[in-house]
Symmetry: C2
Subunit: 229 residues, 2 copies
């Protein structure tokens, strides 16, 4: 029987690649997405397409409402910043940062992993082309893993060490795309834009679009998902 | 202006006392409860009564669904164990353990604290009369705090150190009750039972009821909430 892994799946380029990597390592994958007060459902439709195309044992979309706390462009009515330079991105933490998002997401993954008897969680965080979020850094992930191993039955009983896999953490966007293509990932299924049209067309101008387009460009490729002209 | 604190409030005896302590320390309190697939709404009604009686700046009930992951008597259809001895309780982790519950709850508290600009979270965990849950131990709380300070904007920018306050962690149930009574807490408003009647009458036989009744008994007091005969 293959080992089970919980894979956080937003439906974007990174988490889709993380899922492909988890599968390539022989894990039976349980994909976990969130309906967390996003302004658009485009992301979740992408997650469903990806889960189906790559093949998962189960895909749960957990409803949580971070909107009630306010505080970010991705969950409230603040404008998504457009056409920032790489320099802008590397500086301050942007308004698109959702408070404690990865901490909340990993906590749900931990709960599900515990119930499944799984000791492996995959998350597609990236510390290089990462747009300045604090909860994408290796030291954060290590601290999370340490906490998680004190939080659970299995950890306490020494039966199992939970591991948080971050296969993309030190890759550039181009390297991530290259890795996924090697596993046959169809990036046309994914959605990365912070502010897509209702039909799912990416804006082409937010940080996430810029990073993605740059990644494909560096490989001399054209993103199969075409942004608005 | 007084400092803001997020206080996790289940409506039970412990979290109610933690709220009273946070208030006594001068914090403006933001109470956070969860609708997490509990089998009964009794707990949330108690939380609302308590938040109102003690006075909070805001009380949010966040809807999350841990039921979809299954795995515990408090969220699924496994029978709540009754009339276990103190010896039974100190041994194995009981089926009433909800996977990663405190990790999930603290993550939401962290998100709200970040939005409020608060660096203080109160949780009424207790390592003494605690019924064997791994995520009630001091080493878990310390690891959580460390992770949280790496997760957030404020932590990264060094503006603020998040502190998780656990004022009950080394108190016995009797000491907790004594502390709350000194602050004028009306424990008649609270609900601790894992398996109350729809009208809110505690069973008097689950671990939580036994610990609570023992606490009042040790003080020579009668619990204002009377269990089923």
């Amino acid at each position: 029987m293959s080992k089970k892994a919980v894979v956080l799946l937003s439906g974007g380029l990174d988490s889709t690649t993380a899922l492909a990597i988890a599968k390539s390592e022989g894990f039976e994958c349980y994909a976990l997405s969130f309906r967390y007060g996003q302004r658009h459902a485009v992301e979740l439709e992408a997650a469903q397409r990806v889960a189906k195309a790559l093949g998962t044992a189960q895909h749960i979309i957990a409803g949580i409402d971070l909107r009630q706390f306010g505080g970010s462009a991705l969950t409230s009515d603040i404008q998504v910043p457009k056409d920032r330079s790489a320099n802008d991105m590397s500086g301050d933490i942007p308004v698109t940062y959702v408070p404690a998002r990865n901490t909340v997401f990993l906590s749900f993954a931990l709960a599900w992993a515990e119930v499944l008897g799984s000791s492996d969680v995959f998350i597609g965080v990236n510390a290089l082309d990462y747009s300045g979020y604090p909860d994408c850094r290796p030291e954060y992930i290590e601290a999370y893993e340490r906490m998680a191993n004190l939080a659970t039955k299995a950890g306490v009983e020494g039966r199992q060490r939970l591991r948080i896999h971050t296969p993309l953490i030190d890759l550039s966007k181009a390297q991530i795309i290259e890795r996924g293509l090697a596993f046959g990932v169809d990036y046309g299924l994914t959605s990365s834009c912070y502010d897509p049209s209702p039909a799912g067309v990416p804006c082409g101008r937010c940080d996430s679009c810029h990073l993605r387009l740059k990644g494909f460009r560096e490989l001399g490729l054209i993103d199969p998902v075409r942004p608005a002209a």
